[in-house]
């Protein structure tokens, strides 16, 4: 490794650690949240350094972008006096024993992880790629070899939406008092671009970094931006249409997983002839559904019919 690269890595990781500490222990909550968002952004860079472009895309969009938006929206929904809540610790323990314990744990963990041989499954995945139906190894693992994980994961996401909606109606964040004409203008410019890149990433997922998760995240970014610019869920979209869009990804996944049993009798065994098409269908349905689900998470509750207005 080139010394400059090592230096870059060291700086990157050091800032990540410092920001992570800030994100947990900063003096007021706003600072903590902003530090955490920067931490997410740097994590995305770290993924690039680890040759994991798929994760970098997802992290930038989800970990830094949407989580940040969610956190800021949460801060906006808290009572003002709680937003600036100062750092409180569980007890007035001195920091020293905790630090010692943390350091010892860190060192033990490091020692163990350094000793790991890490054989991995890379070779096996490579040898199975010809039958995978897609060219990108990560997409092959996600949507073919370990598709059951991904199905359950989409179930987790839908469940999160149901869980949040089950708590009650949406709580809107207090909006800015000054009108900001530049934001809607920006959204009008960016929204089509984001939708376009969503489909680009979906298409690209078959053979390169991309796929359903980054694509869904981009779509969600577009929709959340529109919401921030003052757009509201159109009235005819609330209720059944929105719920169907949310459920579509998981349902499509289940239908295809069970449907292919007609041919081979094995759950999730795509018939080789149709594998690319089926995976593409799953990918598109999952990507769009993820986009809508992420937006629904941001809404913080079921949109009411009475808001009026439209995009």
């Amino acid at each position: 490794m080139h010394p400059a690269e090592a230096l870059f890595d060291a700086l990157l990781l050091l800032s990540m650690v410092v920001l992570a500490w800030q994100g947990v222990h900063a003096r007021n909550m706003f600072r903590a949240v902003v530090s955490f968002m920067m931490f997410g952004l740097l994590t995305a860079v770290a993924w690039v350094r680890l040759e994991a472009p798929d994760i970098a895309l997802a992290e930038a969009a989800l970990g830094a972008g949407l989580t940040g938006a969610l956190l800021l929206a949460t801060l906006g929904r808290l009572k003002p006096e709680r937003r600036g809540a100062r750092l409180q610790r569980a007890a007035k323990l001195s920091m020293l024993p905790w630090l010692a314990l943390g350091l010892a744990g860190t060192m033990t963990l490091l020692a163990v992880t350094l000793a790991l041989p890490a054989p991995g499954l890379g070779e096996r995945v490579l040898s199975a790629m010809p039958e995978a139906g897609v060219d990108s190894p990560v997409t092959a693992v996600l949507l073919n070899f370990r598709a059951w994980d991904t199905l359950l994961e989409i179930a987790v996401m839908l469940l999160a939406v149901i869980a949040i909606w089950s708590l009650g109606q949406d709580v809107l964040a207090s909006t800015s008092r000054l009108p900001a004409p530049s934001l809607p203008a920006l959204v009008r410019l960016l929204f089509p671009l984001l939708v376009l890149s969503t489909f680009y990433l979906l298409w690209r997922g078959g053979h390169g970094p991309g796929g359903a998760f980054p694509a869904g995240a981009l779509l969600a970014a577009g929709l959340v931006l529109a919401l921030l610019a003052g757009a509201r869920v159109p009235e005819r979209m609330t209720g059944a249409p929105l719920r169907c869009a949310l459920a579509a990804g998981l349902l499509a996944f289940i239908i295809i997983a069970v449907g292919v049993m007609a041919e081979g009798g094995v759950f999730f065994a795509y018939p080789p002839r149709h594998a690319p098409m089926l995976i593409a269908i799953v990918e598109i349905a999952a990507g769009l559904s993820i986009g809508v689900m992420l937006t629904a998470l941001f809404l913080g509750g079921e949109p009411t019919d009475t808001q009026g207005g439209s995009t």
């Binding site: 490794m1 890595d9 860190t106 963990l109 999160a160």
Partner: protein, 92 residues
């Protein structure tokens, strides 16, 4: 330098995990606890991917696991944040 490859990343992942676990235990504010959890999660994700790189080929399985993990973490974070908002609204 004679460090084995990935040492820095492993060190960072261990530190992040420790910061997250420590913050989860010691902080009072619920939002901080949620942030700490996410930091610890990132530490584990870094560990997974760094380990997946040590072989001759890049191992895509940890990549897929981390992608899944990021989405799961986001979903659970969103639920936690939703609960926090409702709790604050019902604060007497």
């Amino acid at each position: 330098m004679s460090l084995p490859p990935g040492t820095l990343f492993l060190l960072a992942s261990a530190l992040l995990f420790a910061i997250g676990a420590h913050g989860l235990v010691t902080c009072r504010h619920l939002l901080r606890k949620v942030l700490a959890l996410n930091v610890a999660m990132t530490g584990v994700f870094l560990l997974l991917v760094t380990l997946g790189r040590s072989g001759t080929t890049v191992d895509p399985v940890p990549h897929a696991m981390v992608l899944t993990g990021i989405v799961v973490a986001l979903s659970t974070t969103a639920v936690a944040l939703g609960l926090i908002v409702r709790l604050e609204r019902r604060r007497p």
